[in-house]
Amino acid sequence: MDAIFLQVLNGLDKGSAYALIALGLTLIFGTLGVVNFAHGALFMLGAFCAVVMRKILTLSKITLDPEKTNFLGKPLEIKTTYVELWWGDVGTWMIDYSVLLSIGFAIPVMALIGIIMERGLIKHFYHRPHADQILMTFGLAIVLQEIVKAFFGANPIPQSAPDAMGGAMDIGVLFGFAEYAVIYPYWRLIYFVFAAVVIGAVFAFLRFTTFGMVVRAGMADRETVGLLGIDIDRRFTIMFGIAAAVTGVAGVMYTPILPPNYHMGMDFLVLCFVVVVVGGMGSLPGAVLAGFMLGMLESFASMNEVKAIIPGIDQIIIYLVAMIVLLVRPRGLMGKAGMMED
């Protein structure tokens, strides 16, 4: 029983990352009708926002201590970070919580990147075939990831969660399991809660604000909304920025779980396309549902008991499910008929 509970937690955890990325992907697809292969790169850029933030926070002033020497016999270098120098304990606290601070940094940066991307490149591809959109964004993804590689190198850069959230929690006890039966890292639980909040916020934004209403109307019928005298293009551009920001913060929060490297975007991209297709192209609830569902399936398939029956199933389960869904129910779980059929 507790093994199953653990897999449920794992599934929710994986699922929240999938759902967040797929949500951004669907926002872009639903509003602009563009298949964005560079979306994985946005996730990766978000993760590197956290790396940059930490680098900035830990910029240090180097002072030499002539009293002590290192093993080479030279005076010992003492690094003091500027934030600590200026603000003392607050500075220490800032470095500790840099992942959370990075969210504040990543949202404007990612939104800006998204808007530049839309205005500068993707705008010109609305009337081109989907194949061209795929190819252009694929090229863009390569460029973005290579730029990051040129600046940060090819090795993963480990990031730590804040000390207070670093440990693990005996979550099993809360649900009536024996003590120490199910121990789970705090950060992964936080990631799940965070994902739920972000997803809720996006849905609330679309549901309860005038802006969201206009965007939803535009998704349903772009031309009519335009004829009503609303500048729908501008709103869609802003939605692209929001989608990029959502994906970016998903990347920021993921850094303590997976040390960011330059190809993490590509790794997630294929999975997230599968998630979007399973959920139904252009359906936001579908993307979220499929994200959690596939995350759950993947973690259950990686249980040893399951692997003993069908070896290697954990590697392919997602693709297998995607194929079955696409063949049996081509429009996906919650997609509308006729979407992207051509």
Partner: protein, 386 residues
């Protein structure tokens, strides 16, 4: 039979390919390794073009066929003989079967769904090759030939060194070297094997382009719905195109393994499929010569760019004043050496944005512009002076 135009094209192409080692030597591309890659990836691109160029189905899974071809060939090397013929035959059969299976399932959908389905299939094969299929694929290490392998058709190997791949005794890495006008020319057996196959593959692709079958595939690209309304079932045609291009990819995989007898799963990764698409798009999808050209250009610049390092850059900009030299080197540095992919991605974006028809379209446009200029000046001459 071929029309006159195609005959000329075929003849020029054949001559160009066969004299490759001489023509390309002045450009620093005359060494066997690179020439072999030109030919092999040329075959791959020609095959991919039959699917993408004619039917417009954008497959992101062709690397899987490449991998299947390589694995089958290496297994033939291990079990039967180091002669490359059985390996190539098995590779074509296996990749054909594999393509039939994948195509049968994925071609039920079109457009973006087809791309994602093929992507999913390729990713699945890649994961399987790394995990469960390790007994067949040898996992991360990759499949290699060993001394202890059976090779039942070959005479017993007593030399104690690994046997090399051959075609009825002609070893693939045999090279005949000579100098002409001070150039170092290398005529490599492996390259000529690849070249002959490339020419055959190119001929087949011309025949397909000019056949009623090719016309049908083009009709699928133009308007599949209309074709269906007229009562034609397009599935057999697209499936045939998919299988043919899969077999081309399998053949290319076999040749890759024949030139260097090892096969690894990284050949099946989806970014590898992406690079096949890049070659075809860069050259010009749907044209005959474009894909070969694209493959050649990409492989050539890959080889050239990867060799440039900071020292070379400093030599180039030596004439500039100091700070400008440093600046130029700093600007260009990320694009060369290990940063070749960055250049590739950037060039690719530029091509898709400004020149969707690839290099061939560019050549056509320049040709038309020139013709217009010529006609324009002729017109001017005709108008009588007032």
């Amino acid at each position: 039979m071929l029309k006159l135009n195609d005959k000329i094209l075929m003849l020029v192409f054949t001559i160009f390919v066969l004299t490759g080692p001489i023509i390309l030597a002045p450009f620093g591309a005359g060494y066997p390794d690179l020439l072999q890659r030109f030919a092999i990836f040329g075959i791959l691109a020609v095959g991919y073009n039959i699917l993408f160029g004619l039917t417009g189905y954008l497959s992101f899974g062709h690397a899987a066929f490449l991998g299947v071809g390589s694995y089958s060939t290496v297994w033939m090397f291990k079990l039967l003989t180091m002669n490359i013929i059985p390996g190539m035959i098995l590779a074509i059969i296996m990749s054909g079967l594999f393509a039939l299976l994948i195509g049968f399932i994925t071609l039920r959908r079109s457009g973006i769904y087809f791309s994602i389905l093929t992507l999913a299939f390729a990713q699945m094969s890649y994961s399987l090759a790394y995990s469960v299929l390790t007994p067949i694929t040898n996992g991360e290490t990759g499949l290699q030939i060993r001394l202890a392998d059976a090779r039942i058709l070959d005479p017993k190997n007593e030399s104690g060194s690994l046997p090399s791949t051959n075609l009825f005794g002609l070893e693939m890495n045999d090279t005949f070297r000579t100098t002409l006008f001070g150039m170092d020319l290398q005529f490599n057996v492996g390259f000529y094997v690849c070249a002959v196959i490339l020419i055959a593959a190119f001929y087949l692709s011309i025949r397909i382009f000019r056949s009623p079958f090719g016309l049908m595939l083009r009709a699928v690209k133009t308007n599949q719905n209309r074709l269906m309304y007229t009562g034609i079932n397009t599935k057999p045609y697209t499936l045939a195109a998919f299988v043919i291009s899969g077999m081309y990819a399998g053949l290319a995989g076999a040749l890759l393994a024949s030139m260097d007898p090892l096969a690894g799963a990284e050949r099946m990764q989806w970014t590898e499929s992406g690079s096949i698409v890049l070659m075809v798009i860069l050259g010009g999808a749907g044209t005959l010569l474009g894909p070969v050209l694209g493959a050649g250009v990409i492989k050539y610049f890959e080889a050239i760019f990867s060799r440039i390092n900071d020292n070379v850059l400093h030599e180039w900009f030596d004439i500039l004043p100091g700070f400008l030299e440093t600046f130029m080197v700093w600007i260009i540095h990320p694009f060369v050496g290990k940063g070749w992919s960055l250049t590739l991605g950037a060039v690719f974006m530029i091509i898709v944005i400004f020149l969707p028809g690839g290099l061939m379209e560019g050549a056509n446009r320049i040709g038309k512009r020139l013709a217009k200029l010529k006609r324009g000046s002729a017109d001017d001459a005709k108008t009588p002076a007032e």
